[in-house]
Amino acid sequence: MEDVIHLQTQLLHYKVSLFKEGYLNDQFKELESLEDESNPKFVEEVVAIFFEDSHRLINELTKALEQKCIDFKKVDAYVHQLKGSSSSIGANKVQMACIAFRNYCHDMNIQGCLKCLQHVKEEFALVKNKLETLFKVEKEFLDANASNPII
C-alpha cells in the first residue's frame, strides 16, 4: 500500500519537476488528455514516433553540416521538421533550441549552426532520457496499482 502511494508521489513529483524545469510544456498535458480507454497507449506511441523521427533528422542534420558546401535550405527544412515534432510533443527545450538553430540558418552562420546542432542533440538526449524514465515510473506505478488498487 505504502509502495503504491510512494510510487504515486514519486511519479507526481517527477512529472511536476519535468514541467518546472521546462522539459515539457502544456502540449504534453494535452497529449495525456487524449489518452483514454479507446486509445490507451497514445502518448507512448506518439513519443516513440518522435524519438524515431528526431534520430533521423539529427543524423541528416549532422551529415548536411559536414558537407563542404552547406545547403542551408535543406538544413533549415530539417530543423523546421524537428521543431514541428518537438512542439507537437511538448518537448519545450528541444523546441527552443530548434528556434535558435533556425535563426542561425537564416543568417548562414556555420559556427552558430554547429553549436546549435550540438545543443539540440544534448537537449534531445536529455528529454529522451527523462521521458523514458517517466514511462518507467508510470509503468511501475500502474503495475503496482493493478495489483493493489487504491483508486
Partner: protein, 740 residues
Amino acid sequence: MENCYCIEPQWPADELLMKYQYISDFFIALAYFSIPLELIYFVKKSAVFPYRWVLVQFGAFIVLCGATHLINLWTFTMHSRTVAVVMTTAKVLTAVVSCATALMLVHIIPDLLSVKTRELFLKNKAAELDREMGLIRTQEETGRHVRMLTHEIRSTLDRHTILKTTLVELGRTLALEECALWMPTRTGLELQLSYTLHQQNPVGYTVPINLPVISQVFSSNRALKISPNSPVASLRPRAGRYVAGEVVAVRVPLLHLSNFQINDWPELSTKRYALMVLMLPSDSARQWRVHELELVEVVADQVAVALSHAAILEESMRARDLLMEQNVALDLARREAETAIRARNDFLAVMNHEMRTPMHAIIALSSLLQETELTPEQRLMVETILKSSNLLATLINDVLDLSRLEDGSLQLDIGTFNLHAVFKEVLNLIKPVTLVKKLSLTLHLGPDLPVFAVGDEKRLMQAILNVVGNAVKFSKEGSISISAIVAKSETFREIRVPDFHPVPSDSHFYLRVQVKDTGSGISPQDIPKLFTKFAQTTVGPRNSGGSGLGLAICKRFVNLMEGHIWLESEGLGKGCTATFIVKLGIADQSNESKLPYTSKIHENSIHTSFPGLKVLVMDDNGVSRSVTKGLLVHLGCEVTTAGSIEEFLRVVSQEHKVVFMDICTPGVDGYELAIRIREKFAKCHERPFMVVLTGNSDKVTKESCLRAGMDGLILKPVSIDKMRSVLSELIERRVLFETS
C-alpha cells in the same frame, strides 16, 4: 596856250613845303596802293570772307584815291592840260567810287558786326560745352572710381577687409590726407575709432555719440562738411603751421538681417550708424567738389551693403554650424533612444521568458492539482489560485506587449459572457483581502443590467479588478462600494469629457461601473498624472508597491472598448470615486446557452464528440500528424492521414467532411493546394471544409488563407478544446474564421 591854268602859287618860293607835300603824297599813294594788295593777299589766304566784291570796290576806291594822290604829284609843277584832265577824271572816278563804297558800307557794316556777335556767341557756347564736357568727364570718372571702389569693397566678404579697402581706395581716389571710420560700441553710447588710413592714432579712442556734429551728420544721408576742430576730425596732433584741409563726414548705415524686407529698401529702419571722416590734405587750396561729395555718399552706401552682406554671411555660417552641431546632437540622441528601445525590448523579451516560466508552472500545477482529490474548501482555493494565475498570465502578456498596446494593434477578444458572473468573481477575488483589511464591500448591479453581454471578458474583468484593487489598496478602513448600471443619456450629461459622445444603439449598450472608496483620496494636482505609465505619486501614503501600470493599461482597455474612465476625489483623506463607461454588445437570446469560447475547463459545449465524422489530416511531420490524429480520434472522428500533398490529393474524396492541412512547412504552397482542391470538387457541390493548421499568426497568412478560400485557420499548438470548438463551429455554422 589858251587856258593856262598856271596858277601862280601863292607862296612861290616855298620849296620846303612843296617838298614835304610831294613826299607825303608819294607815300600816301604808296600806302593807298599797297593796302588793297595786302587785302587781296590776305583775303586770298582766308577762305571764308563773304564780301569779295566789297573788297573789289574798296580796292578800286583806294586805288583811285592813290592814283589821285599820285597824279597830284604832277600838279605841283607846271602841268599840261592832259595832266589836268587825267587828274580830273581820276578825281571824278574816285568820287563816284567812294560814294558807292560809302553807300555800300551802310549795308555791310551791320552785317559784319553781327558776324562778330555770332562769333562771340559761338565762343560762349564752345566754352559752355567745354565746361559741360568737363563735368561729364568728371562724372564718368567718378562713376569709374565708384565702380572700382565697389568692386574692391565687394570682392571680399570679410568685414575688416571691406572697411580697410574702403578707406584705402577712397584715400587713393580722392587723394586724401586722412580717412577714418568710427564704429558704434556695443552699448551704442559711444563711437570708437576703428580704422584709419595711416595708423597714426590710437585705435580705441572714443567719443560720445550724442555730440551735435555727429547727430547732424547722422540725421542726413548726405556727406556734410564739418569743422576740422571737432573731436572726430582732430586726429592728427596739431603742429602750428598746419592749415587743416577741409573735412567731410558721412554716415554709414549698419544694416542687420532683419532690415531687409522683400520690397523695402532699408531707408529708415536702421538705427545704428558708423561715421566716416575724410580729410583733404592740409595746406592745399583744394576744396570739396560736389562730385567728390557724391562719390563719398555712394561709397558709404555701398559699404553699408557690403557690410550687411558680410554680416549675413557670418550669420548664415554661424547658423549652419549651429545646425550641424544640432544635427550631431540629434543623431546621438536618436541613437541613444534606439539603444534604449532595443535594451527595453531585449529586457522585455528576457523577462517575457523568465516571467512566463513560473506562470506556466503555477498554472500547470494548479490544474494538475485540480484533477486530484480535494476537499471543497481546497477546491475553492485551488480554483481561485487558477483564476488569479490566469489573470496574471493575461496581465503578463499585456505588460510584455506594451508596444503592441501603444501601437494600437492590440485587439479585443470579443465573445459572449456572463456579465453578472464577472462581477461576482471580482467580488470573490477581492473579498478575502477586504476581510483581512476589515473593509466592507458592497456590490450593486442595476436592475436592467443584462445577464449576458458581448465583449472581451478577460480584459473587462481585468479593468474592474484593477479599479477595485486600487480602491482596496488605498483604503485603510471604511467601505468600498461597486455599482454597475446601464448608462442612460442622463448619466452622459454628467460626463464632462469634451469628445466622448456615446450613442447607444440597438446592438450595443453602455455599461457604467463606479467604485467608491473611503480611503486616502487623491490631491487634485495628481489627478492628471494618474493614467500616465509608470508615474507614481511621490506625496502621501500612496507609495505602496505597484508598477504604476495598472491605470494606464486600464485606460487603454477602456478606450479600446470605446469608453472613458475618470477619477474624482475631493482631496487627500476624502476618498475617491473611480468611474468608467464601456461599450458592450447586447447578447441575443440564442447566444446565451452556447458560450462556445469560454476557457473554463469544466464546461462542455454541445458537441463533445463527432461520431463518424470523416476527416482527413495532411501533415508531413510524423509526430504532429499522430498528435492531430490522436486529438481527432479522441473526439470520435474517423481519421485518415496523408503524409504529403500527392498522397493527400489521391486520398481526398467526397466522404471527407473536413480536411486539416498543415501548411507551415516551407516549400508547401497551401494556397495552391486549396485551389487544386476546389478544382477537384468544382463539379460536385459538397466539398469538404478546409482548415489550415499553422504556427504563423500574422495578418499576411490570414489574408492569403482567406483569399485561397479556406474555411478556417487554427494556430498550433492545438488543444483538445480548441479542436472541439472548431469542429462544432464548422458543423453548426458552416463558417469559422480564426481561433488562436
